[in-house]
């Protein structure tokens, strides 16, 4: 471990990984998507609405096809007026009789692939569930957008890039707290002072990353969930865990005897990691309600990322942030061991 801390290959590797991942995460464009469906109007038996696209290529793309659909019916647009790359006006025959009031709006073209606005249009009228099947003159084609891009999600939009900034903070914290859990056990078994120093340094840096995670999470939540702080079990669990780890330093300050201090705090560090796991992983997975992805019934980010485009960038970013956290930990640890040597000499 001592030797690994002094080696520089993993620091260089970490910085290359983090640097390239952040660059890719910031400069890769978002996939095209439908921003909104607006100006829905029904006149006689004609339905008219306009579609605002995001990063779309309505003007330059070929074979533009627009249709609306519910679970079983599809109705194609009759005329599509392209105003610019992100703005089209669609006219079509009003489905009669209406099979439902809510329809998804879909667009397919050769450049963007298939874009969907799920339940994007609401049409007033009486619903007859056994309506005739819709008519489309051309067969409908569904294609994937195949260039390298970040998945487009409504509400998140560009802030989906935070996946590479906010989430790895917690991975770095989990890594360092797990490390402190191991070193605390080794300290209790062997009683070597350097493992106590490692535990202190790891928890110190883990708290830094927890604060980073909390601040960035609160800010991201403000612009996606609508509030800085919510009832989310994972958020509150993470906040409680941060407080538990802050109490570790209080415990160390309150014990005078050096040997007793090290042993007591090692026991506390083991306990704290178990509590951290319970608060961040076990309780959120049992809760009825959660805003975080991949807890309770929420979909994970993996489900949006069909072709795994995000996954590689995310993995590189996570590895990079973890290596950065370990680097900062090693600096802190070296400082602590110098201080210990000085005290021992006196």
């Amino acid at each position: 471990m001592e030797r690994l801390i002094r080696q520089s290959w993993w620091k260089i590797l970490g910085m290359i990984l983090l640097g390239s991942a952040l660059l890719i995460a910031l400069q890769t464009p978002l996939s095209p998507g439908i921003l909104s469906v607006e100006d829905v109007s029904v006149q006689d038996s004609t339905l008219e609405f306009s579609i605002i696209g995001y990063n779309s290529h309505f003007q330059s793309a070929e074979n533009l096809q627009v249709w609306i659909q519910d679970k079983t019916h599809q109705y194609c647009a009759e005329s599509v007026l392209t105003l610019d790359d992100s703005h089209i006006v669609v006219k079509m025959a009003l489905p009669s009789p209406l099979p439902s009031n809510l329809f998804s709006v879909l667009i397919n073209d050769d450049t963007d692939g298939t874009l969907a606005s799920v339940d994007g249009i609401f049409i007033k009228g009486e619903v007859q569930e056994e309506a005739a099947l819709g008519k489309c003159h051309q067969p409908i084609t569904v294609t994937e957008h195949d260039s390298f891009s970040i998945p487009y999600r409504t509400i998140l939009y560009e802030s989906i890039r935070n996946l590479n900034f906010h989430v790895p903070m917690w991975f770095a914290m989990i890594f360092l707290t797990f490390f402190s859990f191991i070193t605390a056990i080794i300290y209790l078994v062997h009683g070597k002072a350097k493992f106590d120093d490692m535990t202190v340094a790891a928890i110190h840096v883990a708290v830094l990353f927890a604060v980073c995670g909390l601040c960035t999470g609160a800010f991201w939540a403000r612009f996606t969930w609508g509030a800085f702080w919510t009832d989310d079990p994972q958020l509150n669990g993470a906040a409680i865990s941060t407080l538990i780890y802050l109490a570790y330093f209080m415990l160390r300050r309150s014990v005078q005897d050096a040997d007793k201090k090290a042993r007591l705090s090692a026991v506390y560090a083991i306990f704290a990691f178990v509590m951290f796991y319970v608060f961040v992983k076990v309780i959120p997975s049992m809760a009825d309600f959660s805003l975080h992805p991949d807890t309770t019934d929420n979909p994970s980010f993996k489900d949006y990322d069909i072709e795994g485009k995000l996954k590689m960038v995310f993995r590189a970013a996570t590895a990079g942030w973890i290596m950065l956290s370990f680097w900062i930990f090693s600096l802190k640890y070296r400082m602590l061991s110098i201080e210990r040597k000085r005290i021992d000499n006196e």
């Binding site: 802030s159 900034f165 830094l208 601040c215 960035t216 996606t224």
Partner: protein
Amino acid sequence: MNKIALIALMMTSFLSASAAGNTMEEYMYSSGKIWVAIAVLLMILLLIFGYLWKMDKKLGKMEEESKN
């Protein structure tokens, strides 16, 4: 400790400004919320730099003590 307090004050004033002022909030929602991602990255860098700054000062103090 003063520096951490200063950074915390800066952060909270930044957050409250974005909560109270409409222009700041509109700015965050503009361009597909890209500024949320940039602000989050800057926040992380600021906190890590603050931590390194504090560490730097502590190391300076240790150097002073070892000289005496």
